[in-house]
């Protein structure tokens, strides 16, 4: 199932890419395409930040997500102001958008960690008889 989901995501990304390339060639960069490209650039910036946080800090899980939440929200707000996503009155929406993503990521991560620990511990038990 995991492989099917991963393949679906790859196929989806390729489909979006092909549609975008054709659209850009035919009609140029529309507002929708610009928005998706902006989201891609923002995702890259956030992923880069995540990489450095994971590589150079060893915070506990909750601490790590708290730092990521603050950093990602700051990145979204800054990016949003630069590309004109937010008005001065609704910039706080960034906290909600990022919050939803972070909470989901936290629960998925916590589940994966628990499963990995169980797998490793059962491997140790098997190995030691």
């Amino acid at each position: 199932m995991k492989k099917v989901f991963r393949d679906t995501c790859i196929l989806f990304a390729l489909a979006v890419l092909s549609v975008f390339v054709i659209s850009i060639v035919w009609v140029g960069v529309t507002d929708e395409i610009r928005l998706v490209l902006e989201l891609f650039a923002l995702s890259f910036v956030i992923s880069l930040g995540n990489y450095f946080l994971d590589e150079y800090t060893s915070l506990p899980v909750i601490g790590s997500y708290a730092v990521k939440y603050i950093a990602a929200t700051a990145a979204v707000m800054l990016f949003g102001f630069i590309v004109g996503w937010f008005y001065r009155s609704n910039f706080w929406m960034a906290f909600i958008y990022v919050g939803i993503v972070i909470v989901l990521a936290y629960f998925i991560d916590a589940f994966k960690i628990k499963r990995d620990i169980e797998y490793i511990n059962s491997g140790i038990r098997k190995k030691k008889g």
Partner: protein, 147 residues
């Protein structure tokens, strides 16, 4: 596969592999056995000691100096983490944080402790902090051993 063992006194440990045809499984077996023979030169105040990979519990980088920990001793190692990492491929040693490499053969348990940190408990009850990032690498070692 047939496994034969016999004691031959006065001889070093010798492994003879007989195969009908050289294939990937044989190659992997030869590589794994070869990796068991890896040793590190540890330094103490008295001099240098050869430490077999199976005796290593963990290797830690403390203030840019590497230390090899066995069940009850600590040795200084002249080299870098990347030197060690290049030699431990296909062995039970795996990186568990930016500063530590652990031997999973001496791992007793992995657990999540109260503040959500991960902790590895070794056979000698020493505890090491495990970075979440490296958990899949530890898992891969046990998956490969299960094959």
């Amino acid at each position: 596969m047939r496994i034969e063992k016999r004691q031959v006194e006065g001889q070093p440990l010798t492994v003879i592999i007989e195969y009908p045809e050289w294939n990937d499984s044989v190659e992997s077996l030869v590589r794994k056995i070869g990796r068991m023979d890896i040793s590190f030169v540890g330094k103490t105040e008295e001099g240098s000691v050869s430490i077999g990979i199976s005796d290593v519990y963990y290797i830690e980088n403390v203030e840019r100096k590497l230390f090899i920990y066995t069940e009850g001793d600590v040795y200084r190692f002249d080299g870098s983490m990347s030197d060690i990492e290049s030699r431990i491929e296909d062995t039970a040693l795996v990186r568990i944080s930016r500063t530590c490499i652990m031997n999973t053969d001496h791992l007793k348990e992995i657990r999540q402790i109260r503040n959500s940190h991960l902790e590895a408990v070794m056979d000698n009850d020493e505890k090491l902090i495990v970075s979440r990032k490296y958990l899949p690498d530890i898992k891969r070692i046990f998956r490969n051993e299960g094959l």
